[in-house]
C-alpha cells in the first residue's frame, strides 16, 4: 500500500512538473529558434534598437521577458547570450572563471554554489577547435546543456 502511495505520489509530482521541464528539454535554440542565424550587429544604435520594442498589440521579446516553454524560454536566453559572447566565454572557460560564465550559469538557472563545479566539468572536455563562431557557440551550448542535464540538474532548476 505504501509502495502504491509512493508510486502515486511520484506519478503525480512528475505529471505536475513535466510540461515545463519537457518543454525545456525539447527546445534546441539553434535548431528551433534561429539562434545560429542571429548576427550580432556591429552598429551600436542598431544593436540597441534591435531588441525593442514594447508596443501594444505586440509582445515584448527580450532575453528575459518570456514564457518558459517556447523559444522565448530561459534556456534560449542563455543560448542567445552564449551565441553573442562566445569569444569571452571561451577565454573564461579555459581560465576557469569569469563574469561571462557567471552570467551564463545564472541564465541557465544554476545555483551559484554549483558554478565552479560545472565550469570544471565543461573545462575538462572543452574542445576549442570547433570551426566557426556560430558552430563554437552551438557546440558549447550543447556541451553545457548536457553537463547540466546529466550531472547538475538538481542545482540548475530553471527559475
Amino acid at each position: 500500500m505504501k509502495l502504491a502511495l509512493l508510486a502515486a505520489s511520484v506519478l503525480t509530482l512528475s505529471l505536475a512538473t513535466t510540461p515545463a521541464a519537457q518543454a525545456q528539454q525539447k527546445v534546441n535554440p539553434w535548431k528551433q529558434c534561429g539562434i545560429g542565424a542571429m548576427i550580432f550587429d556591429d552598429n551600436g544604435t542598431a544593436a540597441a534598437l534591435s531588441n525593442i520594442i514594447w508596443d501594444l498589440g505586440t509582445t515584448a521579446v527580450t532575453s528575459n521577458v518570456s514564457s518558459q516553454n517556447t523559444c522565448e524560454g530561459i534556456k534560449v536566453a542563455a543560448a542567445e547570450f552564449i551565441n553573442s559572447t562566445i569569444t569571452n566565454i571561451e577565454e573564461e572557460t579555459v581560465a576557469g572563471e569569469g563574469e561571462h560564465l557567471t552570467a551564463m550559469l545564472n541564465l541557465m538557472g544554476c545555483d551559484a554554489t554549483a558554478h565552479q563545479a560545472i565550469i570544471q566539468d565543461v573545462r575538462a572536455d572543452f574542445n576549442v577547435n570547433v570551426e566557426g563562431q556560430a558552430a563554437k557557440a552551438e557546440a558549447y551550448y550543447n556541451q553545457l546543456d548536457n553537463t547540466i542535464n546529466t550531472k547538475f540538474a538538481a542545482q540548475c532548476q530553471v527559475i
Partner: protein
C-alpha cells in the same frame, strides 16, 4: 462631528456626487495637478498647452498638447476594468502616471482594481532594482554621432541571480535605416529627419558592442538615489520605451533625453537648455557636481575597459620577461614550444596567453581572418593545458571622464602682430586639442568642432578664422606589437588665414594628412604630410602641401608644449613656398581654465597670450 463636517464640505464641493471618475477629475482640477511640473515632466511637455516632445500618438490617451485633457483621460483609463491583455491596461502602460496620481489623489488608490503587470515585472526583474547607474561610453571616431561618446542608463538588480552582464539598461538612439548614406545620415540627423526611441537590452550587449567591437571604454556612475526614486525612474522609463521622439543630432539627442529622464528624480537641471548643443560628457560633469539629499549624487565610479584598454594595461603592467615573451611569440608565429615561453613560470605563461587573447581579438576588430582564428584556438588550447586560475587583475589609472577639462571653450587673447596689437575672442563648441589638460595619459589627439575666432585690430572687428572640424589622431602604439597603433592622421575643414601677412587672407580649406607618431617619455614626436585643397583667392592655386615635424610633451604636469616646423609647397602656381613654425604652450591643469602662450611664424610673426575658460 468632524466627519460630518468633512462630508458636508465634500458635498458642497461636489454637489452632484458624480461618478468616481468625474469626482477624481474634479479633485485633480481643484489641486491643479495638470499644471504640476512633475505631471508635465511625465508628459514631456514644457507647459500645459505646449506640444509634447514625444510624437508617438500611442503615448497619449487624449492629447499631446493638453496636459489637462491627458490627465482626465488617464484617470478614466486607470479606473477602467481589466479586459483582454492586462499589459495593455493603463495601470501597466502608464505606471509612473498611475503611481504619481495615487500619491496626489488618495481616493484613487482605493478605487483602483489590483492589477499585476507581467511584462513590466519581467522587464524590471520583479521590481528588484536596487540602484541606477549612468553609463558613459567613450568617444568613437568610427561614427560622427559617437565622436563625443554616448550615455545610457543601467538598472542594477538587487537579486544575486543577476550578474553585472545581465543588468537591464535603457538606451536612446535614432532609428536609422541600415546602410544609410553617411552624408544623408549627417544631414537628416542635424535637421530632425529621424525618429528616436528609448530601447532596452542586457548590459552584455553594451560590453560586446562598445567594448569588444568599437573598443570604447565604458564608465559606470552609480547614483545615490532613494528606493522611491529608483522606482520612479523605472516606472517612467517603462512608459517611454519604444515611444517616438524627433531626433536632433546636436541638441535633442541621447544626452538631452537621458538628462531629462534623470532630472525627474534628481530635481535639478542636468543639461543646459540654453546651449544649442548637448553632449553626453556634460551630463557626467554635472552628475559629479550635484548634491542630492545632502550627499554627492554619484556614489561610485567603475571603469569597464575595452578590449584595447585591457591589452594595453595587461602588457604595460606585466614584467619585462612576459613582455619579451609576448613580443617573441608575435614575431615568431606563436611557437609556444619556444624557450621564450616555456622557460616562464606557470603564472607568467598564463599572463602571456591572456595578453595574447586580447591582442588577437584586438587585431580581429580590424580584420577577422581564418589565420587569426587558428592562432586564437592554439592559444586557448595552451591555456587549457595550464591550471585554472583567476585572470590577472589589471590596474586602470585613467581619468574618469568627469575629471576631464570641460568641453566648450571661450578664450580671450592679446596678440602682437607685425602691424599692431590685436585682441582676439574665440569660441570653440567642442572638445579638446593637443594641448588640453586632463586627458588620458599617453593619448595625444585633437577633436574640435565649430571653432571661431574674431579679431579686433586697429579699430576693426573681423573674422580671423573658423574651423568647422579638426581631428588629429596620433594613433600611438602602446605595446610596440604589430597592428597596435598605425598611421597618424588629420582632417580639418575651415575658413582660415593662408598666412599671417595680411589681415584678410582667409580662404576655405580642406586639409587631410597622414604620418607617423612615436611616443617619447612624456610626449610624442611626429612627422606628417598634409594635402590641402583650398580656394584660389590669393594666387595659391587649388592645391598645396604641408610637411610637418612636431612634438608635444609635458615639461611639467602643469606645462605642455607643442612645437612644430613645416614647409608649405604650392602646386601649379607661382606663389612662393615657405618654411613656417609654431610654438604653443599651455600652463595650468584646471578643468576650467588655462593660460596659453604662443608664437607662430607664417611669412609674418605673431606672439599671443591667451586665457581660456572651459564650460
Amino acid at each position: 462631528m468632524k466627519f460630518l463636517l468633512f462630508a458636508v464640505c465634500y458635498l458642497l464641493a461636489f454637489p452632484a456626487w458624480p461618478n468616481v471618475v468625474e469626482r477624481l477629475q474634479q479633485q485633480a482640477a481643484l489641486q491643479d495637478l495638470a499644471t504640476a511640473p512633475y505631471w508635465l515632466a511625465l508628459l514631456h511637455q514644457e507647459g500645459v498647452n505646449t506640444r509634447s516632445a514625444i510624437v508617438d500618438p500611442d503615448f497619449f490617451l487624449a492629447s499631446a498638447a493638453d496636459a489637462g485633457a491627458e490627465l482626465n483621460a488617464t484617470l478614466a483609463a486607470l479606473l477602467l476594468p481589466v479586459s483582454g491583455d492586462v499589459n495593455a491596461h493603463a495601470q501597466c502602460r502608464f505606471i509612473a502616471r498611475s503611481h504619481w496620481l495615487q500619491q496626489q489623489l488618495p481616493e484613487l488608490k482605493h478605487q483602483l482594481a489590483t492589477v499585476s503587470c507581467p511584462l513590466f515585472d519581467d522587464w524590471s526583474d520583479q521590481q528588484q532594482i536596487g540602484s541606477v547607474s549612468a553609463i558613459f561610453a567613450s568617444g568613437y571616431l568610427g561614427n560622427p554621432a559617437s565622436f563625443y561618446g554616448h550615455i545610457l542608463l543601467k538598472f542594477n538588480s538587487a537579486s544575486d541571480k543577476r550578474a553585472l552582464l545581465q543588468q537591464q539598461n535603457i538606451n536612446f538612439g535614432a532609428e536609422v535605416p541600415t546602410a544609410e548614406n553617411p552624408l544623408l545620415y549627417i544631414a537628416k540627423g542635424l535637421a530632425g529627419g529621424y525618429n528616436a526611441v528609448f530601447s532596452y537590452g542586457d548590459f552584455y550587449r553594451n560590453i560586446h558592442t562598445y567594448g569588444e567591437t568599437e573598443l570604447r571604454d565604458q564608465w559606470e556612475y552609480q547614483l545615490a538615489l532613494t528606493d522611491a526614486e529608483v522606482k520612479q525612474l523605472l516606472y517612467h522609463a517603462w512608459e517611454l520605451i519604444g515611444r517616438d521622439y524627433v531626433y536632433y543630432f546636436l541638441k535633442e539627442n541621447c544626452a538631452f533625453r537621458m538628462a531629462e529622464l534623470l532630472e525627474l528624480v534628481v530635481g535639478q537641471p542636468l543639461i543646459s537648455r540654453r546651449k544649442p548643443y548637448a553632449m553626453p560628457i556634460s551630463v557626467f560633469h554635472r552628475l559629479a557636481e550635484v548634491e542630492h539629499h545632502g550627499q554627492p549624487l554619484v556614489s561610485k565610479i567603475t571603469q569597464h575597459p575595452s578590449r584595447q584598454k585591457r591589452l594595453h594595461a595587461g602588457y604595460q603592467q606585466s614584467s619585462p620577461d612576459v613582455q619579451n615573451a609576448v613580443a617573441w611569440l608575435v614575431a615568431n608565429n606563436y611557437q609556444l614550444a619556444g624557450a621564450a615561453f616555456q622557460q616562464l613560470t606557470v603564472a607568467e605563461r598564463i599572463q602571456v596567453l591572456e595578453i595574447l587573447f586580447d591582442y588577437i581579438e584586438f587585431l580581429k576588430v580590424e580584420a577577422d581572418t581564418p589565420e587569426l582564428t587558428k592562432i586564437k584556438n592554439l592559444l586557448l588550447q595552451a591555456r587549457l593545458q595550464l591550471p585554472a586560475a583567476k585572470p590577472t587583475s589589471l590596474t586602470l589609472n585613467d581619468n574618469a571622464p568627469h575629471r576631464n577639462t570641460y568641453p566648450s571653450l571661450i578664450q580671450v587673447a592679446i596678440t602682437d602682430t607685425e602691424n599692431s596689437v590685436a585682441y582676439d575672442l574665440r569660441f570653440r563648441a567642442t572638445y579638446y586639442d593637443l594641448l588640453t589638460a586632463n586627458r588620458d595619459p599617453g593619448v595625444f589627439s585633437a577633436l574640435a568642432m565649430f571653432d571661431v575666432q574674431v579679431r579686433l585690430q586697429q579699430g576693426r572687428l573681423a573674422l580671423q578664422r573658423f574651423e568647422l572640424l579638426n581631428i588629429e589622431n596620433m594613433n600611438l602604439s602602446h605595446t610596440g606589437l604589430v597592428g597596435d597603433g598605425g598611421l597618424a592622421w588629420k582632417i580639418n575643414l575651415g575658413y582660415l588665414p593662408e598666412d599671417l601677412v595680411c589681415a584678410d587672407c582667409q580662404q576655405l580649406q580642406l586639409t587631410a594628412g597622414a604620418g607617423k607618431a612615436v611616443p617619447l617619455s612624456s610626449g610624442i614626436l611626429y612627422l606628417m604630410q598634409d594635402a590641402r585643397l583650398h580656394q584660389d583667392k590669393f594666387q595659391t592655386g587649388w592645391l598645396s602641401a604641408d610637411s610637418r615635424l612636431g612634438t608635444v610633451f609635458d615639461v611639467q604636469p602643469y606645462w605642455r608644449l607643442h612645437a612644430e616646423i613645416g614647409y608649405r609647397s604650392y602646386l601649379n602656381t607661382e606663389r612662393d613656398n615657405f618654411f613656417w613654425y609654431r610654438l604653443q604652450q599651455r600652463f595650468g591643469t584646471s578643468q576650467r581654465w588655462d593660460l596659453r602662450l604662443g608664437i607662430v611664424r607664417q611669412r609674418a610673426t605673431e606672439v599671443s597670450l591667451a586665457f581660456s575658460y572651459y564650460f
